[in-house]
Amino acid sequence: MLGFIGRKVAYLGFVYLLASVAIFAAMKLIPEDPLVARYGKHVPLEKIEAERERLGLDRSLGGQFWEFHIRFWSGDWENSLRTGRPAAEDLRKYLPATIELSGLAMLFGGGAGIAVAMYSRVRGNEFSKKAAMSLGGMGLIVPIFWIGIVMLVIFGVWLEWFPMGGRFGMLEAPPKAVTGLYLVDCLLSGSWGKLAEALYYLLLPSCCLAVYPMAGVTAMLYARLKEPEVDALYVSLRSKGYGSLRIVFGHLLRVASAPVVTVLGTTFGGLLGGAFLTETVFSWPGIGRYMVSSIIERDLFVAQYLLLMLILLIFCVAFFSDVVAKALDPRGKEGGDER
């Protein structure tokens, strides 16, 4: 296990190096002066030169690359052109919103995917099989942003059950920030009314985003449960007279847990991409909307660090999911089920 973790950590280091070189090179390949792009053409040349010196952009390429890493890890990411605040401060505000949204979507999508795949295996009728296959292919047929818009029209405009956007009521104070995750902060402070309010705003966007993990988990788990070894396990348990619930919760879930964790980890990147779209549809104040607007407004100094941070986040999640999947996989344990 330690060797496995060591290899994965080395891979993470390689990813960081490659991503930072790619982003640094991209900044150097911009045809225009990034400082002119940031401050505009009407700013005096002296100010541009002073900024160049302050940011270390007058140094050699190696010196600039070093400065890039120092600034990234120290959180000195410059002020955002959009909000006027330090970008690291904005990150603390917007990133938890995206993590909360993606986390709940993963929970909903993973749970729904497992339920559908298990139901289709236990039932085994045509309808359940078609339901599992349709849900598995849904991610490639229906665009997530359209699902969000349709949800808003139905539940927001026509039925008026849910708000049209935002993260919390405009007229109410959000929970006291401890983690930045509203659900966790409400639980920590015991504010049940605010917890209900936060859930009210979170439910629609997270259900929309849940389509990604649901499709991935359903497709993978349905295929896994159809494999001959799992099928043999199911038939032998049935022949022993075990009930459906006992087979699902006592055996099949154990067999399925490792691949489900792997799928959730590897689809986190796609989920994050989906979160960018969901945030746009539901006016969710997350890091995706913040980054898209940073790039559109050519706020490149902030965008470069944000990109690097998000790439690291994606690969860190994949790393942890691999480690958890390895620990959960019964075939990897001595005396496991496969013996």
Binding site: I30, L140, P143, G269, L277
Partner: protein, 237 residues
């Protein structure tokens, strides 16, 4: 694709301002948007734009994947390892992020989206292409063709290609569907540049602001997009 040559009305002309936000009635079956443009004409041209840009992007993906496969199957072990390592990085990497990365140093225009999609879908295509190639390369009929002295070109043309072609179409279908989805996602985010551009994702982003007043304007582009994706799955050789 007919949308490139003929649409009921000019998709960009603001000719029906007096009918803004009207619903589906003859001759504007999909309604008229807030700027007085015929929605059906815009969706029609949008579908043509989406399909053509996604087609170019999917071809770019296959060409890049083929080139990488050629490098990977070459004699240099270091190069092979390097190609595999770089491609494995792209697995699970969202196209949206890559699109944003390219926007850092490229112009915000539809052609940039083609680059972003072509590059970002390479890991998906490369891995499947590699498995297929190895399978065909080691097949008994390929070995037999080599054993009787067939040249590399002869083996490729008469042993590998006929068996690879149907499976290549399956990979292209997948890549094409992903390209349609990603193209519309990126243009929905506004990364296609001109907000007036008639592309299904861009049209949805534009009409989203009017969904309170005329919800049907956001239904049609999404329905057409889903229909195109569904049809892609049904394509046969």
């Amino acid at each position: 694709m007919l949308g490139f040559f003929a649409t009921p009305f000019d998709p960009y002309a603001q000719a029906f301002l007096d009918k803004s936000f009207s619903g589906g009635e003859w001759p504007h079956l999909f309604g008229v948007d807030k700027l007085g443009r015929d929605a059906l004409s815009r969706v029609w041209l949008g579908a043509a734009n989406t399909l053509s840009y996604a087609f170019v992007a999917s071809m770019g993906t296959l060409a890049l994947s083929g080139f990488l496969l050629w490098l990977e199957r070459g004699r240099s072990r270091v190069l092979s390892e390097g190609v595999r390592a770089v491609v494995s990085l792209g697995v699970g990497f969202p196209v949206v992020l890559l699109g944003l990365l390219l926007m850092v140093f490229m112009e915000r225009e539809p052609e940039t989206l083609i680059w972003a999609i072509s590059i970002a879908t390479v890991p998906l295509a490369f891995r499947q292409l590699r498995v297929l190639w190895i399978e065909q390369d080691k097949a008994v009929y390929t070995e037999a063709s080599r054993a009787v002295g067939g040249s590399s070109w002869h083996v490729l043309r008469y042993s590998i290609w006929p068996n690879l072609r149907p499976q290549l179409l399956e990979i292209w279908k997948l890549v094409f569907a992903v390209a349609i989805l990603e193209l519309s996602s990126l243009s929905f985010l506004g990364l296609g540049g001109d907000p007036r551009w008639a592309e299904l994702g861009a049209i949805l982003a534009d009409q989203r602001k009017s969904m309170n007043l005329q919800p049907m304007l956001v239904f049609w582009p999404g329905l057409v997009l889903s229909f195109l994706l569904w049809q892609t799955r049904l394509l046969r050789a």
